[in-house]
């Protein structure tokens, strides 16, 4: 082998002529450019910190206001018109035909022909010093009105669940981009070495429609992807040792495997091998730390009462309590998904009257408790809570297949919906944006999904235009080519 290599070297040198030398001098400038281009392919970025080292943080552009994030996603999309966007005018039009101007050139997921307008199904009042409008569906959230910043004129581009969820979490309606949580851990690093930096908890009986891609790492090294934990039983499947395997033996096994992996890495230099090594090590540490942090039996009874949970449940309320425990242990990004908010009016559970009220009953108290719990632990001012869905719901009643639905329901709506944020760096008791009197379009302070993402990154210290990752020859960012920080909501 060595002999062959030397032979090749010799042959190459024989062919090097003065002409070659001059050529390479002449093209020196081009070579410089080429060097930089290769740089961006990730082959020799010596200046950059090693990818795959999850604890490593990139230095943010600004001092972060939000050190951690809890993102609560109500998959299916609750109706803003029953919860936060109070439209008394809509009640007057209840049962009347939808004006033609709302329908021209529009596409809906299910609405066909001319639907009827649907008045709010809940009772609204103003709460807190800030006078935030909220309905009787969310009586607990009313008690923390002055901690919240509402975004009342959100809008998106996608009217189906999966692409809209992808857009919300990855900045693109198509597969393949890293999620907000992955970007966050890539940016600020993972602090607690015994826990993943990005943990996902799902409730409501089903996974989000867009699947695991909504918390994937896309083209970022896979070490940044969200780790989903189960709320009941073993938090992570197969995390406990099988019977007959003790911890020492497990340790030796993992050390041996990692030794082989390290040798392979030395040979082929694939960064995914580093991910694999660190995940083995993480898994070993998680065997101890995860059951401990996911065990709520040591929480005092009044804390359990505050969230309304019993140990052993796998509910949304339990996930809120776990989210608090995780951020208390310096987990960077906790993503909660709760399924079952798609109130078309097709069944007893999926509508904007009893069904939505029931979903709120299950989630309102723990969300308010989470805000209060974080606050009293001194964590709220450095933890950003985001609440929202992939889109909103129409001011019109759904008329699937031109029929009258069995329950009051609304179709998917992308021109106006409400989200809210609390904690880390956003104003307390504030409302940004307004919709027209029927709640169809945002009229003031419209915030696109990309604007929201730019704002979240800003709160974490990153300029969304400079926070990029080189992939396939160009720098990618969460907000693609769009996005503007919503400065009005920054504290």
């Amino acid at each position: 082998m060595e002999k062959l290599r030397k032979e090749l070297q010799h042959a190459t040198l024989l062919h090097q002529t003065r002409r070659h030398f001059l050529q390479s001098v002449g093209f020196g400038l081009g070579a410089l450019g080429l060097g930089t281009m290769l740089d961006s392919c990730g082959t020799s970025s010596a200046a950059d910190s090693p990818v795959g080292n999850i604890a490593q943080s990139r230095i943010p552009q600004f001092a972060p206001k939000a050190k951690r994030v809890i993102y609560i996603h109500m998959a299916g999309a609750p109706s803003q018109l029953e919860l936060f966007d109070y439209k008394p005018e809509l009640l007057k039009y209840h049962g009347k035909d939808c004006p033609a101007e709302f329908l021209e050139g529009k596409k809906f997921a299910f609405i066909q022909g001319v639907p009827k307008m649907l008045g709010p199904q809940s009772h609204f009042a103003q709460y807190g010093q800030s006078g935030a409008w909220m309905s009787d569906y969310v009586p607990y959230l009313q008690t923390v009105a002055d901690e919240i910043t509402f975004l009342k004129a959100m809008h998106t581009d996608q009217f189906n669940h999966a692409p809209a969820q992808l857009l919300m979490h990855t900045g693109s309606p198509r597969l393949g981009r890293p999620s907000l949580g992955a970007w966050s851990v890539y940016g600020l690093g993972s602090e607690n070495q015994n826990l993943p930096g990005f943990i996902v908890l799902a409730s409501g009986g089903q996974q989000p429609d867009a699947g695991k891609s909504v918390f994937g790492s896309g083209f970022l090294p896979s070490v940044y992807q969200g780790v989903q934990c189960r709320t009941g039983g073993d938090p992570v499947l197969y995390v406990s040792d099988p019977s007959g395997m003790n911890r020492d033996m497990r340790k030796q096994t993992i050390e041996a495997i990692n030794e082989i992996n390290k040798q392979t890495y030395e040979d082929v230099k694939d960064p995914e091998i580093l991910t694999r090594i660190s995940q083995y090590e993480m898994a070993f540490r998680m065997q101890m730390s995860v059951p401990e942090v996911m065990d709520v039996s040591k929480e005092p009874q009044f804390i359990l009462d505050m969230y309304g949970v019993k140990p052993g449940e796998g509910t949304f309320a339990m996930n809120c309590l776990l989210a608090r425990k995780l951020v208390e242990n310096d987990v960077r990004f906790v993503q909660l998904f709760d399924w079952g908010w798609d109130g078309h009016g097709t069944s007893k559970d999926h509508n904007v009257e009893g069904g939505l009220r029931q979903k709120c009953r299950e989630s309102d108290q723990p969300v308010a408790a989470l805000i209060k719990d974080l606050k009293m632990r001194g964590l709220l001012e450095e933890t950003l809570i985001i609440w929202g869905a992939e889109f909103g719901r129409t001011p019109m009643q759904e008329n699937r297949n031109g029929l009258v639905m069995p329950y009051m329901g609304r179709d998917h709506h992308l021109d106006a919906f409400t989200m809210w944020m609390a904690g880390g760096g956003v104003k307390q008791g504030f409302s940004h944006g307004e919709t027209d009197e029927l709640g169809y379009y945002g009229t003031k302070g419209r915030v696109h999904v990309h604007d929201l993402q730019a704002t979240i990154l800003h709160l974490m210290g990153f300029d969304h235009e400079k926070f990029t990752y080189p992939f396939q020859g160009r720098n990618f960012r969460l907000t693609d080519t769009e996005g503007k920080v919503v400065k009005e909501v920054l504290a």
Binding site: T36, Q61, A63, G189, N192, I303, D305, M376, E381
Partner: protein, 497 residues
């Protein structure tokens, strides 16, 4: 392809930035060459032809390098396109004519084209003149147009036909009595001065638009009038400000200081109200929408709660921490992060070191200046550690929850000038400790749940320090109270039936 290739490359920028240094070589060489040529022709000095050829050769070489570096620098953007274009072509001209002068002077073509010598003098003359004007353009690109003559003293100023010197108000001064302010001259004109007239005035009137005088603003530019009297929302100058910043039509151009929402509201309101030159605020109808914007004019700081909340410590400049010291800290298992790119302040966390003790506090001494966020919650530190913490002058956030600290220890940190946040949840600190730190100058929030602090001390300290947030937590009774909120759901449903 090459453009894209070079645009983002740090190499291109690195070389480009040498342009302002390299350009001085061709300037110097050419001038000395021309000067020697003059002296030689007048017979004042004896210089060999070879010397001049040698100087011309290096003029041409250095001019060529300056061109390449200049081109790379121009890719970084941010320059006035017209001026840049002029400068570039003049610079290339310098190089071309310097090469021409050298070729001719060095007798390389004499045999081929015998009469070529006649272009020698024009070539060296043009190269020299171009050097001077290209150099001037370069100065204008770097320092801004008019930099050279900005401070011309008076007798010469008048002779040169320059307008009288004026102070440019770049910051809008607060107005003492907003109601009595003349809307155009006291509110509108200062906004235009600050954000628009750099490009739309006598010295530079892009798009043929001047915004420095009301009559000229009304007349408009090549795209028509800047505003429609009475219709702010339909006026070109308002519409452009409201376009997305990435839009080509957006004004001010991307990267320049932008108008605030309040400023746009004020301009639009002034147009709505008839774009009068001399009406006062009190003579116009003040709409609800413009009220907050008007109110903000009276204040020193721009409106918004954000300004008050920004941490003072973030403007403190400290030297960069020793790399080795940081590396040593990381080796022990501490997390050490730089707070942001424009500061050297550090965030240090012991989340992975539950066994961190008072003894290890010594390790932090080398970065005492830089520590601003310190998280030692849940470690084994005691009061002794607080003695060390008191020596971190720029500390702004302190997590010492779930530790063994007491009243005795916390008194030590009282003198810290920037400390904003203290978390003493689940410690033995009591009322005395709370009262001790409550008066700290910068302190904004203190969290005392599950400590020895009593409810009465919390409310007393809260009353005495209205700007301080003292947060105690829930107990059983408070949770019971919280749970009552849910009862209304049941009531509402009954009411509905």
């Amino acid at each position: 392809m090459h453009y894209i290739l070079l645009q983002d490359s740090s190499w291109a920028t690195f070389i480009g930035r040498f342009h302002p240094a390299i350009v001085h070589f061709p300037i110097g060489f050419l001038l000395i060459g021309a000067l020697l040529e003059l002296g030689r022709r007048w017979g004042k000095i004896a210089v060999s032809e070879g010397t001049i050829v040698f100087i011309l050769f290096w003029s041409a070489i250095s001019a060529t390098f300056a061109c390449v570096a200049g081109y790379l620098l121009s890719l970084t953007g941010g320059y006035d396109a017209d001026l840049l274009n002029n400068h570039m072509w003049k610079g290339i001209g310098v190089a071309v004519f310097a090469w021409a002068a050298w070729f001719v002077k060095s007798d390389r073509f004499e045999r081929a084209i015998p009469s070529i010598k006649v272009i020698y003098l024009p070539a060296i003359l043009i190269a020299t003149l171009l050097t001077l004007t290209a150099g001037h353009d370069g100065g204008a690109l770097t320092h801004g147009e008019g930099y050279l003559t900005q401070y011309t003293p008076e007798p010469f100023r008048g002779l040169a036909g320059l307008p009288p010197m004026e102070e440019k108000p770049t910051e809008i001064k607060p107005i003492a009595d907003v109601q009595q302010a003349v809307v155009y001259s006291d509110i509108v004109q200062p906004i235009l001065q600050a954000k628009c007239t750099q490009c739309h005035s006598a010295s530079k009137s892009k798009g043929d638009l001047r915004m420095d005088q009301l009559a000229l603003l009304a007349k408009g530019g090549e795209n028509g009038p800047a505003f429609v009297v009475g219709k702010g929302a339909e006026s070109d100058m308002i519409k452009r400000c409201l376009l997305p910043e990435n839009d080509d039509e957006h004004m001010p151009p991307k990267g320049k200081p932008q108008l605030t929402t309040d400023q746009i509201a004020l301009l639009s309101w002034w147009i709505d109200q008839g774009a009068s030159a001399d009406k006062k605020v009190s003579q116009m109808t003040v709409s609800e929408a413009v009220k907050p914007a008007l109110a903000s004019l009276g204040k020193e700081a721009p409106a918004g709660t954000g300004a008050a909340q920004a941490s003072a410590v973030l403007s403190v400049k400290v030297p960069k921490a020793n790399e080795q010291a940081i590396e040593n800290l990381r080796k022990t298992g501490l997390i050490v992060n730089t707070l942001s790119q424009d500061q050297n302040l550090l965030e240090i966390s012991a989340v992975n070191l539950p066994d961190f003790t008072d003894k290890q506090m010594e390790l932090l001494q080398p970065v005492a200046q830089q520590i601003t966020w310190l998280k030692l919650g849940g470690t084994k530190i005691t009061d002794a550690a607080l003695q060390q913490i008191a020596k971190f002058p720029n500390l702004s956030k302190l997590h010492i929850e779930h530790t063994g600290i007491t009243d005795k220890g916390i008194a030590a940190i009282k003198p810290l000038p920037y400390l904003e946040y203290i978390n003493i949840v689940d410690t033995k600190v009591g009322d005395e400790g709370l009262k001790n730190v409550a008066g700290m100058k910068a302190l904004r929030s203190i969290y005392v749940w599950q400590s020895a602090v009593t409810d009465s001390a919390v409310s007393q300290v809260g009353r005495q320090n209205p700007n301080l947030l003292v947060v105690n937590g829930f107990n059983e009774a408070a949770v019971a109270q919280f749970l009552k909120a849910g009862d209304t759901t049941g009531k509402e449903e009954v009411k509905k039936q």
